[in-house]
Amino acid sequence: MLIAVLSCFILACFAPWLHRLGGRHSGWLLALLPATLFAYFASMLPTISQGQSLQFAYAWFPGMGIQLSFLVDGLSLLFALLITGIGFFILAYGGRYLEKHKDLGRFFVFLLGFMGSMLGVVLSDNLISLFVFWELTTVTSFMLIGFNHEQEDARKKAHQGLMITVMGGLALMTGFIMLGMAAGSYELSTILNSDGLTEHALYLPMLLLILLGAFTKSAQAPFHFWLPNAMAAPTPVSAYLHSATMVKAGVYLLARLNPGLGGTDTWLLMLTLFGALTMLTGIFLASRATGVKKVLAYSTVMALGTLTMLLGLGTETAALAAVTFLLAHALYKGALFMVAGILDHSAGVKDFTQAGGLRHSMPKTTVVAVLASLSLAGIIPLFGFVGKELLLEAVLSASKWHIGLTIATVIANILVVLVAAIVALQPWFGAVVETPKKPHDPDIALLIGPAVLATLGLVFGLMPFIADKGLLAAAAGAVYGQPVELYLALWHGINLPLMLSLSSLLLGLLLFKVWSGWRQLTNFMHSAEKIGPEVVYERLMLGMTQFAAWQTNTLQNGYLRNYLITTLGTVIIVVGWALLRVNQLELNISFQDMRVHEVAIAVLLIFSALIAVLVRSFLAAVAMLGALGFGVALLYVFFSAIDVGITQVLVETITVLLLVLVLYRLPEFRSLSSTANRIRDAIIAGMTGLLMTILILAITGARQLEGISDYFLQNSGPLGHGRNIVNVILVDFRALDTLGEIFVLALVAIGVYAMIHLRTGALPVTNSDRRAAFNLRRTQKDKAKADAKAEADASAVASKGEE
């Protein structure tokens, strides 16, 4: 199982080379992996379809109790089969679709990486690993939306998708941590079986946070706008990530958590409300759009809303309807997106209004498109019909608000029929319209995916028991929390759902007749979009950068004194407050065991500090600070911290060296600040000193926990093989800290180097600049050498002459 998930990432690492090896057929070559994985997951079907589940666990962070564990039940297997199955076709399709793209190798890397992450999301049994994979899908999706990164538009939209899903991801992580705390475990298999989660005090916050994560990922209103914008990605990506798999991750999560968190009024309210809203928004916008991918993207938003609504209802019928609808949607929407790609690839059509009568030149594609659209419209005997009947049945039998939900669903269905009619009829039938490219049926790599998916929609429709007994019953059981007794059938007899679908079919077809009129009628949306959520998002982003700019200008204004005031002021307030509250200031100061030399050093320190403040010359101030530092070093030595003392002496030495180098650059010593400023600075400095003094006295006076120095004293010999405890701590016991520190040192070095070179304009920027700079330096060096030699020769001649 671990290998199954990791193999995608491993193959992703080698994809660019395999791509070069495979040449024109590299897509097929790489598609072998999802095919193998599909077979592997399919081999689990007999076990899973009996309602059992499989678990796999591997130690990951044993110290923190985090393990990499996988859970395979009906729901995760359904997703895993969709991911690998559709993934197979997408790789083959993508290899041909982007055949001439220079970055095809990179495309494969991200696509395979995404496949692995998505498998990780749906198979993870552990919340933490689920979250990690979840974020990985976000990152790979970002790379794929922005695949054509030279276009500003693609970058902008990739950024938008990233920001929204990452924001949701943060909320999700917090929600997961609360969930883990409430349930006492991070294993989903344990969480879902634990009782009382819905009565837990953290239930509401964690539910809202998890929903925020799921809603942003699955593009629920009002976050729906990123999904149509994600269509900036190449079409294979849209087909895979933004219709069949990734956007369903949120839905997956809701389905997965339903047995544990579902069933409450809040759950019902949030999911049905937002689901229904998304459903209507999505399909309404789809019916107005004309761009091929836009229409499909908005209708995907509708499907995601429908799924969320069904999961909110939480009844047995709704659970079965959700998984059925999900499978049907993945089949027809995957097919339709690939058809959209074919339209673009073979005919240059990106907009439905640009095409017509293509059935003559693209007969095979037409058949596939019509078949998939019929499933979208939910027409008997396709699988979409089964899904739609169940959907209507589920909303009709909802425990609350069933009238409102039914009306919403019927309206959505009417518009779905309209959209399906647009997709099935507009480009293929009617009068022939001139297209940018000469239309032709594509080759097999492009056509096989949609053809197989569309055909499966027909097969499952005619024989729903294959899908049902095979997997959907088990999946619905996993969503519902206990085995479902219902079964799928194509024909339920003449009942209310059937009547509702028939009427929506008729109305939808009527609407198609007046499609352009409908678009004009709903033109008011243009003005509505000006206050839509996308505008709010853009305002927020703009506000964030403006706030950042304001904050940077205020806090980071380039004056060292202001930085010091801010930093020290914060320290005084925060630490001082904590000190007063927690410690009540019980200081035991005794001067009894002080010795003469200690007093002498203390007096020296105080005097050098005073002189450093009062003296009116840089050099004298530096010297006094040096004296201060050496005095502190002496103190260390007397208290037998020799290493620290040596370090202090050396640091003081080097500081003086650096100051001498800098002193040249400083202007003459003058007092520029006003008296008020100086009084303010004196107060802050004085308070800081006072605070530190009290703090140290309080710490040494109130040691409550046993010190760790005894441990180091005892163990540095036996465990660290060294007698110098300071060094053993630095390089062995706390080596990781030291590693971090030297990385910080390195950053400082690079920072100083970059800043000063930037000022003097000598920083080589590009490789050619660097090479030029190097050559220049070399010629200068050579010249200097030659000069020196000439000089030496001259002097030699001269000295000879003297002789």
Binding site: N727, L730, V731, I742
Partner: protein, 147 residues
Amino acid sequence: MKPRRFNMRSLILNTGSSLLLPLLVLFSLFLLLRGHDEPGGGFIGGLVAAAAVALKLFAEDYKAARDMLRVHPLQLVGIGLVLAAVASLPPLFVGESFFTAQWWSLDLPIFGELKLSTPLLFDIGVFLGVIGTVLTVVFTLAEAEHS
């Protein structure tokens, strides 16, 4: 305002530094190697070595110090970081957790027992990192003044 320039060439400093330099470098290595048992270690050793090169800078000039070091100090930082990071890896191959110290002792014919360890490698990394950082700052400042 034009920066004031001091002529820091002094014969005493010049002669003294050329005598002191090898000693200081040797001393820094001594500090590095004895550090595990006696006061010293990579950090202190690194500071001494950096101070030695800085002494060269003050006694002669920027170019002389730069030529003495041969490599760019930032390269030293890089090498140091790599060594320190690499020192964390060997325990993984013997099934112990990240950064567990590993000790190997070799019997050399004349010198006796030689103890090698990952903490030593790590300390060498710290040593180089400190030298590199300090000298990067010193050289950059000196160069800015030079130009």
